[in-house]
Amino acid sequence: MIKYHPSKQLMQKHVAGELPVGLSVAIAAHIELCGACKLELDALESKQAEAAFTNSGSYSEEAAESSTEEDLAFEAMMNDITQLDMSSEMVPRVPQMFDYQDKSVQLPRAIAALKLGSFINAGKVSRARFELDEGPLRSSLLHIKPGGEIPEHTHTGFELTLLLDGSFEDESGSYVPGDFIMLDGRHNHTPKTEEGCLCFTLVDSALHFNKGLSKLLNPIGNLIY
Protein backbone atom coordinates (compact mmCIF):
# COMPACT_ATOMS: atom_id res chain seq x y z
CA MET A 1 0.00 0.00 0.00
CA ILE A 2 1.27 3.46 -0.93
CA LYS A 3 1.31 5.57 2.24
CA TYR A 4 2.96 8.79 1.15
CA HIS A 5 1.24 11.12 -1.32
CA PRO A 6 1.87 14.64 -2.62
CA SER A 7 0.28 17.29 -0.37
CA LYS A 8 -2.95 18.96 -1.43
CA GLN A 9 -1.07 22.21 -1.99
CA LEU A 10 1.42 20.52 -4.29
CA MET A 11 -1.39 18.85 -6.20
CA GLN A 12 -3.10 22.20 -6.75
CA LYS A 13 0.05 23.81 -8.07
CA HIS A 14 0.71 20.78 -10.21
CA VAL A 15 -2.74 21.01 -11.78
CA ALA A 16 -2.20 24.71 -12.40
CA GLY A 17 1.11 23.96 -14.15
CA GLU A 18 3.05 26.14 -11.72
CA LEU A 19 5.67 23.69 -10.45
CA PRO A 20 9.22 23.11 -11.69
CA VAL A 21 9.42 20.31 -14.24
CA GLY A 22 11.23 17.85 -11.95
CA LEU A 23 8.53 18.14 -9.33
CA SER A 24 5.65 17.79 -11.77
CA VAL A 25 7.34 14.78 -13.34
CA ALA A 26 7.54 13.14 -9.92
CA ILE A 27 3.90 13.91 -9.14
CA ALA A 28 2.79 12.61 -12.55
CA ALA A 29 4.78 9.43 -11.98
CA HIS A 30 3.17 9.00 -8.56
CA ILE A 31 -0.28 9.51 -10.07
CA GLU A 32 0.44 6.81 -12.62
CA LEU A 33 0.95 4.45 -9.69
CA CYS A 34 -1.77 5.81 -7.37
CA GLY A 35 -5.47 5.61 -8.23
CA ALA A 36 -6.54 7.85 -5.35
CA CYS A 37 -4.36 10.73 -6.52
CA LYS A 38 -5.54 10.20 -10.11
CA LEU A 39 -9.10 10.83 -8.93
CA GLU A 40 -7.97 13.88 -7.03
CA LEU A 41 -6.17 15.18 -10.10
CA ASP A 42 -9.31 14.84 -12.23
CA ALA A 43 -11.40 16.58 -9.60
CA LEU A 44 -8.93 19.45 -9.23
CA GLU A 45 -8.67 19.88 -12.98
CA SER A 46 -12.38 20.26 -13.38
CA LYS A 47 -12.52 22.68 -10.45
CA GLN A 48 -9.72 24.87 -11.80
CA ALA A 49 -11.25 24.73 -15.28
CA GLU A 50 -14.52 26.02 -13.84
CA ALA A 51 -12.70 28.86 -12.13
CA ALA A 52 -10.74 29.83 -15.24
CA PHE A 53 -13.61 29.64 -17.70
CA THR A 54 -16.61 30.94 -15.85
CA ASN A 55 -18.40 33.86 -17.48
CA SER A 56 -18.24 35.99 -14.36
CA GLY A 57 -14.78 35.04 -13.17
CA SER A 58 -11.73 37.22 -12.87
CA TYR A 59 -10.54 36.60 -16.42
CA SER A 60 -13.77 37.47 -18.14
CA GLU A 61 -14.67 40.80 -16.54
CA GLU A 62 -11.78 42.51 -18.21
CA ALA A 63 -12.34 40.44 -21.30
CA ALA A 64 -15.82 41.90 -21.62
CA GLU A 65 -14.35 45.20 -22.72
CA SER A 66 -12.65 43.78 -25.76
CA SER A 67 -11.41 46.14 -28.44
CA THR A 68 -12.15 46.06 -32.13
CA GLU A 69 -8.49 45.50 -32.70
CA GLU A 70 -8.60 42.38 -30.57
CA ASP A 71 -11.75 41.17 -32.30
CA LEU A 72 -10.04 41.45 -35.66
CA ALA A 73 -6.93 39.62 -34.45
CA PHE A 74 -9.09 36.83 -33.05
CA GLU A 75 -11.12 36.54 -36.21
CA ALA A 76 -8.00 36.23 -38.37
CA MET A 77 -6.61 33.63 -36.00
CA MET A 78 -9.78 31.60 -36.07
CA ASN A 79 -9.93 31.61 -39.84
CA ASP A 80 -6.35 30.39 -40.05
CA ILE A 81 -6.98 27.60 -37.60
CA THR A 82 -10.05 26.22 -39.32
CA GLN A 83 -8.03 25.87 -42.54
CA LEU A 84 -5.91 23.24 -40.82
CA ASP A 85 -6.55 19.53 -41.16
CA MET A 86 -7.96 17.76 -38.15
CA SER A 87 -6.00 14.82 -36.91
CA SER A 88 -7.55 11.68 -35.54
CA GLU A 89 -4.78 9.21 -35.05
CA MET A 90 -3.86 7.89 -31.66
CA VAL A 91 -0.57 6.15 -31.38
CA PRO A 92 -0.56 3.38 -28.81
CA ARG A 93 2.22 3.87 -26.34
CA VAL A 94 4.89 1.26 -25.93
CA PRO A 95 5.95 1.02 -22.29
CA GLN A 96 9.58 1.95 -21.62
CA MET A 97 11.64 -0.45 -19.61
CA PHE A 98 14.68 0.29 -17.48
CA ASP A 99 17.21 -2.40 -16.61
CA TYR A 100 19.06 -2.43 -13.32
CA GLN A 101 20.53 -5.15 -11.13
CA ASP A 102 19.27 -8.00 -13.33
CA LYS A 103 15.76 -6.58 -13.31
CA SER A 104 13.71 -4.87 -15.96
CA VAL A 105 11.23 -2.29 -14.65
CA GLN A 106 8.59 -0.29 -16.47
CA LEU A 107 9.25 3.41 -15.99
CA PRO A 108 6.35 5.84 -15.49
CA ARG A 109 5.68 7.75 -18.68
CA ALA A 110 6.79 11.18 -17.48
CA ILE A 111 10.12 9.81 -16.25
CA ALA A 112 10.70 7.71 -19.37
CA ALA A 113 10.38 10.87 -21.47
CA LEU A 114 13.35 12.60 -19.83
CA LYS A 115 16.91 12.59 -21.11
CA LEU A 116 19.18 10.74 -18.72
CA GLY A 117 22.92 11.36 -18.35
CA SER A 118 25.36 8.59 -17.58
CA PHE A 119 25.61 6.73 -14.30
CA ILE A 120 28.21 7.49 -11.66
CA ASN A 121 28.89 4.86 -9.03
CA ALA A 122 29.76 5.43 -5.37
CA GLY A 123 29.94 2.10 -3.58
CA LYS A 124 26.54 0.47 -3.74
CA VAL A 125 24.90 3.62 -5.01
CA SER A 126 24.58 4.55 -8.68
CA ARG A 127 23.18 7.87 -9.81
CA ALA A 128 22.43 9.50 -13.14
CA ARG A 129 21.15 13.04 -13.61
CA PHE A 130 18.22 13.98 -15.77
CA GLU A 131 19.16 16.77 -18.14
CA LEU A 132 16.48 19.24 -17.15
CA ASP A 133 18.60 22.38 -16.60
CA GLU A 134 16.61 23.71 -13.65
CA GLY A 135 19.39 25.54 -11.85
CA PRO A 136 19.66 24.43 -8.21
CA LEU A 137 17.01 21.76 -8.70
CA ARG A 138 18.55 18.43 -9.53
CA SER A 139 16.52 15.45 -10.67
CA SER A 140 18.19 12.05 -10.71
CA LEU A 141 17.60 8.37 -11.08
CA LEU A 142 19.20 6.50 -8.22
CA HIS A 143 19.65 2.83 -7.64
CA ILE A 144 21.12 1.17 -4.60
CA LYS A 145 22.32 -2.42 -4.41
CA PRO A 146 21.00 -4.75 -1.70
CA GLY A 147 22.47 -3.82 1.69
CA GLY A 148 23.32 -0.30 0.51
CA GLU A 149 22.96 2.78 2.69
CA ILE A 150 23.22 6.53 2.35
CA PRO A 151 25.03 8.24 5.27
CA GLU A 152 22.92 10.36 7.63
CA HIS A 153 22.32 13.78 6.17
CA THR A 154 20.01 16.79 6.26
CA HIS A 155 19.12 19.20 3.53
CA THR A 156 19.14 22.93 3.40
CA GLY A 157 16.23 22.83 0.98
CA PHE A 158 14.04 19.84 0.29
CA GLU A 159 14.64 16.32 -0.86
CA LEU A 160 12.00 14.35 -2.68
CA THR A 161 12.25 10.63 -3.21
CA LEU A 162 9.79 8.68 -5.33
CA LEU A 163 10.37 4.98 -4.90
CA LEU A 164 9.93 3.22 -8.24
CA ASP A 165 10.98 -0.32 -7.50
CA GLY A 166 12.23 -2.41 -4.57
CA SER A 167 12.01 -0.99 -1.05
CA PHE A 168 13.99 0.98 1.52
CA GLU A 169 13.80 1.94 5.17
CA ASP A 170 14.75 4.95 7.23
CA GLU A 171 14.11 6.27 10.74
CA SER A 172 10.42 6.82 9.93
CA GLY A 173 9.65 3.39 8.54
CA SER A 174 9.71 1.44 5.32
CA TYR A 175 8.54 2.41 1.88
CA VAL A 176 6.94 0.71 -1.11
CA PRO A 177 6.97 1.61 -4.84
CA GLY A 178 4.85 4.70 -5.45
CA ASP A 179 5.63 6.29 -2.09
CA PHE A 180 6.24 10.01 -2.51
CA ILE A 181 8.56 11.07 0.30
CA MET A 182 9.10 14.79 0.76
CA LEU A 183 11.64 15.88 3.37
CA ASP A 184 12.64 19.42 4.22
CA GLY A 185 15.57 20.94 6.09
CA ARG A 186 14.23 19.87 9.48
CA HIS A 187 14.52 16.18 8.79
CA ASN A 188 17.61 14.11 8.70
CA HIS A 189 17.64 10.49 7.75
CA THR A 190 19.72 7.47 6.86
CA PRO A 191 17.99 5.50 4.12
CA LYS A 192 19.06 1.88 3.70
CA THR A 193 17.81 -0.91 1.54
CA GLU A 194 17.87 -4.66 2.12
CA GLU A 195 16.67 -5.83 -1.26
CA GLY A 196 17.93 -2.93 -3.37
CA CYS A 197 15.84 -0.17 -4.93
CA LEU A 198 15.30 2.25 -7.79
CA CYS A 199 14.23 5.85 -7.07
CA PHE A 200 13.55 9.15 -8.74
CA THR A 201 15.04 11.90 -6.56
CA LEU A 202 14.87 15.67 -6.59
CA VAL A 203 16.93 17.93 -4.33
CA ASP A 204 17.00 21.69 -4.35
CA SER A 205 20.42 22.36 -2.83
CA ALA A 206 23.49 20.86 -1.26
CA LEU A 207 23.21 18.17 1.38
CA HIS A 208 24.79 18.26 4.79
CA PHE A 209 26.21 15.12 6.22
CA ASN A 210 26.05 15.11 9.98
CA LYS A 211 28.18 12.51 11.65
CA GLY A 212 31.93 11.94 12.04
CA LEU A 213 33.08 9.95 9.09
CA SER A 214 30.07 10.95 7.06
CA LYS A 215 31.28 14.53 7.21
CA LEU A 216 34.39 13.47 5.40
CA LEU A 217 32.13 11.88 2.86
CA ASN A 218 30.31 15.12 2.14
CA PRO A 219 31.57 15.21 -1.44
CA ILE A 220 29.77 11.94 -1.92
CA GLY A 221 26.53 13.69 -1.11
CA ASN A 222 26.92 15.88 -4.12
CA LEU A 223 27.84 12.84 -6.11
CA ILE A 224 24.84 10.83 -4.99
CA TYR A 225 22.07 13.39 -5.34
Binding site: A16, D42, A43, Y59, M78, D133
Partner: protein
Protein backbone atom coordinates in the same frame (compact mmCIF):
# COMPACT_ATOMS: atom_id res chain seq x y z
CA UNK B 1 -13.24 6.87 -15.81
CA UNK B 2 -15.50 9.36 -14.07
CA UNK B 3 -13.97 11.81 -11.66
CA UNK B 4 -15.48 12.89 -8.38
CA UNK B 5 -16.71 16.32 -9.36
CA UNK B 6 -16.95 16.28 -13.05
CA UNK B 7 -20.05 14.20 -13.31
CA UNK B 8 -21.64 14.08 -16.72
CA UNK B 9 -24.53 15.96 -15.18
CA UNK B 10 -23.19 19.49 -15.29
CA UNK B 11 -26.21 20.83 -13.44
CA UNK B 12 -24.87 19.62 -10.10
CA UNK B 13 -21.88 21.90 -10.51
CA UNK B 14 -24.00 24.75 -11.76
CA UNK B 15 -26.54 24.34 -9.02
CA UNK B 16 -23.93 24.87 -6.35
CA UNK B 17 -22.82 28.16 -7.78
CA UNK B 18 -26.04 29.74 -8.90
CA UNK B 19 -25.52 33.35 -9.89
CA UNK B 20 -21.82 33.24 -9.09
CA UNK B 21 -20.37 31.27 -11.96
CA UNK B 22 -22.48 31.10 -15.04
CA UNK B 23 -20.81 28.65 -17.36
CA UNK B 24 -22.79 27.27 -20.29
CA UNK B 25 -21.16 23.87 -19.83
CA UNK B 26 -23.75 21.90 -21.76
CA UNK B 27 -23.66 24.18 -24.79
CA UNK B 28 -19.87 24.21 -24.84
CA UNK B 29 -19.68 20.44 -24.62
CA UNK B 30 -22.32 20.04 -27.33
CA UNK B 31 -20.37 22.43 -29.58
CA UNK B 32 -17.14 20.52 -29.05
CA UNK B 33 -18.85 17.25 -29.90
CA UNK B 34 -20.19 18.90 -33.02
CA UNK B 35 -16.70 20.04 -34.03
CA UNK B 36 -15.39 16.53 -33.40
CA UNK B 37 -18.06 14.78 -35.43
CA UNK B 38 -18.74 17.24 -38.24
CA UNK B 39 -15.80 19.65 -38.30
CA UNK B 40 -18.55 22.23 -37.81
CA UNK B 41 -17.02 25.70 -38.16
CA UNK B 42 -20.00 27.48 -36.59
CA UNK B 43 -19.71 25.36 -33.49
CA UNK B 44 -15.99 26.06 -33.45
CA UNK B 45 -16.64 29.80 -33.76
CA UNK B 46 -18.82 29.58 -30.65
CA UNK B 47 -16.08 27.79 -28.74
CA UNK B 48 -13.52 30.29 -29.97
CA UNK B 49 -15.50 33.33 -28.95
CA UNK B 50 -16.11 31.84 -25.53
CA UNK B 51 -12.61 30.61 -24.74
CA UNK B 52 -10.17 32.88 -26.63
CA UNK B 53 -10.60 36.04 -24.50
CA UNK B 54 -10.42 34.02 -21.28
CA UNK B 55 -7.29 32.20 -22.42
CA UNK B 56 -5.76 35.55 -23.29
CA UNK B 57 -6.40 36.90 -19.78
CA UNK B 58 -4.96 33.74 -18.30
CA UNK B 59 -1.86 34.14 -20.50
CA UNK B 60 -1.34 37.75 -19.50
CA UNK B 61 -1.50 36.79 -15.84
CA UNK B 62 0.88 33.89 -16.48
CA UNK B 63 3.50 35.60 -18.68
CA UNK B 64 2.90 39.32 -18.22
CA UNK B 65 3.14 39.67 -21.98
CA UNK B 66 0.36 40.29 -24.46
CA UNK B 67 2.32 38.72 -27.32
CA UNK B 68 2.90 35.52 -25.37
CA UNK B 69 -0.72 35.50 -24.28
CA UNK B 70 -1.83 35.65 -27.90
CA UNK B 71 0.51 32.79 -28.70
CA UNK B 72 -1.11 30.80 -25.93
CA UNK B 73 -4.53 31.45 -27.46
CA UNK B 74 -3.20 30.34 -30.84
CA UNK B 75 -1.57 27.16 -29.49
CA UNK B 76 -4.53 26.18 -27.35
CA UNK B 77 -7.25 26.88 -29.88
CA UNK B 78 -5.27 25.16 -32.65
CA UNK B 79 -5.14 21.99 -30.56
CA UNK B 80 -8.83 22.28 -29.76
CA UNK B 81 -9.57 22.25 -33.49
CA UNK B 82 -7.03 19.68 -34.58
CA UNK B 83 -7.54 17.24 -31.73
CA UNK B 84 -11.29 17.59 -31.29
CA UNK B 85 -11.84 14.06 -32.56
CA UNK B 86 -9.89 12.76 -29.58
CA UNK B 87 -12.27 14.39 -27.12
CA UNK B 88 -14.75 12.09 -25.41
CA UNK B 89 -17.71 13.51 -23.60
CA UNK B 90 -17.68 10.80 -20.98
CA UNK B 91 -14.23 11.96 -19.86
CA UNK B 92 -15.55 15.29 -18.66
CA UNK B 93 -16.77 18.72 -19.59
CA UNK B 94 -15.41 20.63 -22.57
CA UNK B 95 -14.18 23.33 -20.18
CA UNK B 96 -11.95 20.80 -18.43
CA UNK B 97 -10.57 19.50 -21.69
CA UNK B 98 -9.76 22.99 -22.98
CA UNK B 99 -8.25 23.89 -19.61
CA UNK B 100 -5.83 20.96 -19.71
CA UNK B 101 -4.77 21.89 -23.24
CA UNK B 102 -4.22 25.49 -22.19
CA UNK B 103 -2.36 24.51 -19.03
CA UNK B 104 -0.07 22.21 -21.02
CA UNK B 105 0.70 24.84 -23.65
CA UNK B 106 1.36 27.40 -20.94
CA UNK B 107 3.67 25.01 -19.06
CA UNK B 108 5.72 24.35 -22.21
CA UNK B 109 5.93 28.08 -22.95
CA UNK B 110 7.13 28.88 -19.41
CA UNK B 111 9.76 26.17 -19.67
CA UNK B 112 10.99 27.73 -22.87
CA UNK B 113 11.35 31.07 -21.12
CA UNK B 114 12.97 29.71 -17.95
CA UNK B 115 15.33 27.03 -19.25
CA UNK B 116 15.36 27.76 -22.95
CA UNK B 117 14.19 24.18 -23.55
CA UNK B 118 11.69 23.18 -26.17
CA UNK B 119 11.17 19.64 -24.98
CA UNK B 120 7.37 19.93 -24.71
CA UNK B 121 7.21 17.70 -21.67
CA UNK B 122 3.66 18.66 -20.75
CA UNK B 123 2.20 15.94 -22.94
CA UNK B 124 4.15 13.34 -20.98
CA UNK B 125 3.28 14.86 -17.60
CA UNK B 126 -0.43 15.36 -18.30
CA UNK B 127 -1.36 12.98 -21.13
CA UNK B 128 -4.48 14.42 -22.71
CA UNK B 129 -5.70 11.17 -24.03
CA UNK B 130 -5.81 9.06 -20.96
CA UNK B 131 -7.35 6.10 -22.70
CA UNK B 132 -4.08 5.22 -24.40
CA UNK B 133 -2.54 4.84 -21.02
CA UNK B 134 -5.46 3.17 -19.35
CA UNK B 135 -5.57 0.77 -22.24
CA UNK B 136 -1.92 0.03 -21.87
CA UNK B 137 -2.41 -0.51 -18.18
CA UNK B 138 -5.49 -2.64 -18.41
CA UNK B 139 -3.70 -4.46 -21.16
CA UNK B 140 -1.03 -5.38 -18.65
CA UNK B 141 -3.61 -6.21 -15.99
CA UNK B 142 -5.38 -8.54 -18.33
CA UNK B 143 -2.30 -10.25 -19.64
CA UNK B 144 -3.06 -13.36 -17.68
CA UNK B 145 -6.56 -13.77 -19.00
CA UNK B 146 -7.02 -16.61 -21.40
CA UNK B 147 -9.11 -14.52 -23.69
CA UNK B 148 -6.20 -12.25 -24.37
CA UNK B 149 -3.87 -15.19 -24.81
CA UNK B 150 -6.20 -16.51 -27.50
CA UNK B 151 -6.13 -13.16 -29.26
CA UNK B 152 -2.37 -13.06 -29.10
CA UNK B 153 -2.18 -16.51 -30.65
CA UNK B 154 -4.20 -15.26 -33.58
CA UNK B 155 -1.75 -12.43 -34.35
CA UNK B 156 0.62 -12.80 -37.32
CA UNK B 157 3.70 -14.71 -36.16
CA UNK B 158 6.07 -11.74 -36.44
CA UNK B 159 3.87 -9.58 -34.19
CA UNK B 160 3.12 -12.41 -31.80
CA UNK B 161 6.80 -13.07 -31.12
CA UNK B 162 7.34 -9.45 -30.19
CA UNK B 163 4.34 -9.28 -27.84
CA UNK B 164 5.28 -12.52 -26.13
CA UNK B 165 8.91 -11.47 -25.79
CA UNK B 166 8.13 -8.09 -24.24
CA UNK B 167 5.15 -8.96 -22.07
CA UNK B 168 5.62 -12.59 -21.10
CA UNK B 169 9.35 -13.06 -21.16
CA UNK B 170 10.12 -9.60 -19.81
CA UNK B 171 12.76 -8.90 -22.40
CA UNK B 172 13.68 -5.34 -23.23
CA UNK B 173 13.05 -4.23 -26.77
CA UNK B 174 16.81 -4.15 -27.35
CA UNK B 175 17.28 -7.72 -26.11
CA UNK B 176 14.39 -8.86 -28.21
CA UNK B 177 15.76 -7.17 -31.31
CA UNK B 178 19.03 -8.97 -30.79
CA UNK B 179 17.29 -12.26 -30.07
CA UNK B 180 15.19 -12.05 -33.23
CA UNK B 181 17.98 -10.55 -35.31
CA UNK B 182 15.93 -7.50 -36.36
CA UNK B 183 16.41 -3.74 -35.76
CA UNK B 184 14.91 -2.20 -32.60
CA UNK B 185 12.80 0.05 -34.80
CA UNK B 186 11.15 -3.02 -36.30
CA UNK B 187 10.42 -4.42 -32.84
CA UNK B 188 8.79 -1.11 -31.94
CA UNK B 189 6.64 -0.93 -35.05
CA UNK B 190 5.55 -4.57 -34.79
CA UNK B 191 4.62 -4.03 -31.16
CA UNK B 192 2.67 -0.94 -32.07
CA UNK B 193 0.77 -2.77 -34.79
CA UNK B 194 0.06 -5.71 -32.52
CA UNK B 195 -1.21 -3.51 -29.67
CA UNK B 196 -3.41 -1.61 -32.06
CA UNK B 197 -4.90 -4.83 -33.34
CA UNK B 198 -5.43 -6.25 -29.86
CA UNK B 199 -7.05 -3.04 -28.73
CA UNK B 200 -9.53 -3.20 -31.56
CA UNK B 201 -10.21 -6.87 -30.86
CA UNK B 202 -10.80 -6.27 -27.20
CA UNK B 203 -12.99 -3.29 -28.01
CA UNK B 204 -14.52 -1.09 -25.40
CA UNK B 205 -14.89 -3.75 -22.77
CA UNK B 206 -12.23 -2.22 -20.57
CA UNK B 207 -13.99 1.08 -20.22
Amino acid sequence: MVSLEQSSDCRTIKGKNVGMQETPSEQLTAALVNVANNADKKAYAYLFSYFAPKIKRFGIKQFGSEAMAMELVQDTMTSVWRKAKLYHQDKGAATTWVYTIMRNASFDALRKVKSNKEDNLSEEIWPLFHDEQVCEKSFKDHLQTNQLKEKIKSLPAAQRDVVVGVYFEDMTQEQLAQHLGIPVGTVKSRLRLALKKLKVELGEQHD
